[in-house]
Amino acid sequence: METLHLLAYSPPGWGATLLAGLWNSLLIAVGAFGLGLILGTLGAWGKLHGGPVTRDLLAMYTTIVRAVPELILILILYFGVTDLVNQILIALGHERIQISGVAAGIAVLGVVQGAYATEVLRGALLAVPQGQVEAAKAMGMPPFLMARRIIFPSMLGLAMPGLANLWLIATKDTALLAVVGFSELTFATRQAASTTKAFFTFFMAAGVIYLIITLLSGWAFARIERWARRGEPRNAGG
């Protein structure tokens, strides 16, 4: 490969551009995953304990988000949210602002992640043994202490595989922001590739970077899961 020197960190290499893209990708993935967890927790709570209207609205949210391609949701939310914020600002007598790509990306992917997280967390919440919750209630435990000491620890192990999957989806979905021209890893790669015409070198390099993220995440999540299940008996259920 005579084009490998193009991957060098400093110009004429494109390493710095790729790393900046990688940083943006990771930032958005972490932000979107976090936002998705918050939305998912609220959504799961609402689906299990909310009134009929809340439950129907949440069902619509999860169904629509999981049936419509992310690319289209990104475009609708990207244009829509920017427009809406600016219209509100103008109505309040402020000037238009340019919403940063990172913020918009986190918001958009977070909403998508929230729908999947709702389902994952709902399943995990349902699997918490009801007797333990009732016992805690009978002991007069305040709701937050109960959530922290009883519900959270026992649902964490069950939710972990689903959450690991969601994190991987989050890292890969950041690539979709390349389509709206946000300079994350895939977009930076394409820029570098089309400037230098070394398509294979750059796309392969980006692929290796994504693969490393995936493998490292898989390892980390496996460890977290083992830690979260530390109190459970081996071969539970039989």
């Binding site: 289209i72 390349a178 994504y210």
Partner: protein
Amino acid sequence: MRGADVMRGWLQPHRIVLILIGLGLVYVCVTQMRWDWLPKYAPMMAEGLWRTIWLLILSSILGMALAIPLGLAQAAGPWYLAKPAQVFCTVIRGTPLLLQIWLLYYGLGSLFPQYPWIRESDLWPILRQAWPYALLALTLSFAGYEGEVMRGAFRSVPRGQLEAARAMGMPRHLILWRIWLPQAVRAVLPTLGGETVLQMKATPLVATITVVEIYAVASRVRQDTFIVYEPLLLLALAYLALAGLIVLAFRWFENRGPVRHRPS
């Protein structure tokens, strides 16, 4: 009688209110937004929708045909088949599809013209277009994800059945064809519906390499007329309908197979 009960359970008062609000929103969308571009672009949209559908069907069938040997190799193959299959699935599942599509299209697309024998071959008019790369990328992606699913499915078939077949002296390919594969496919049918919806959600990515499917048509409307939301909303509706159809089709498939007798 039962149908009426189901309807009453479903049509609770708050749902009627929600449906009325929804109908009101649809009415506002239809009357207040701009739809005058629709007659001009409708034929193009229909063509784009058709292209989306055949890309989806073809890539799913071809991908599944690849996924079965991939799953089999991982579940029961010798290490020199199992390891490459596992690496393939990991690589496909560990990198974004958009990157794979671009790698195939720009990478292979820039490599092929360098070889005169490819340029002079009969395949060249096809290889110059974008859709073969799109189909290849979607097929490989589906194969990677389903290969993993099939691995679990092949393992889930009870060992006793395979041993019984072997004890009866059934040849190996017949065991696979009559006993192993049918049960593995039946086991994945419920998952496969969801996976096909995911595959449908991946199809608009091929618009980035100039394949004109329905998403590309909607982008074109946006560029031509500067109307942003209307084509996107219509697009979302089209994909929702497609997803609904896929789910219904798989449910129909599932109900056709023999019912498993559960010990009760």
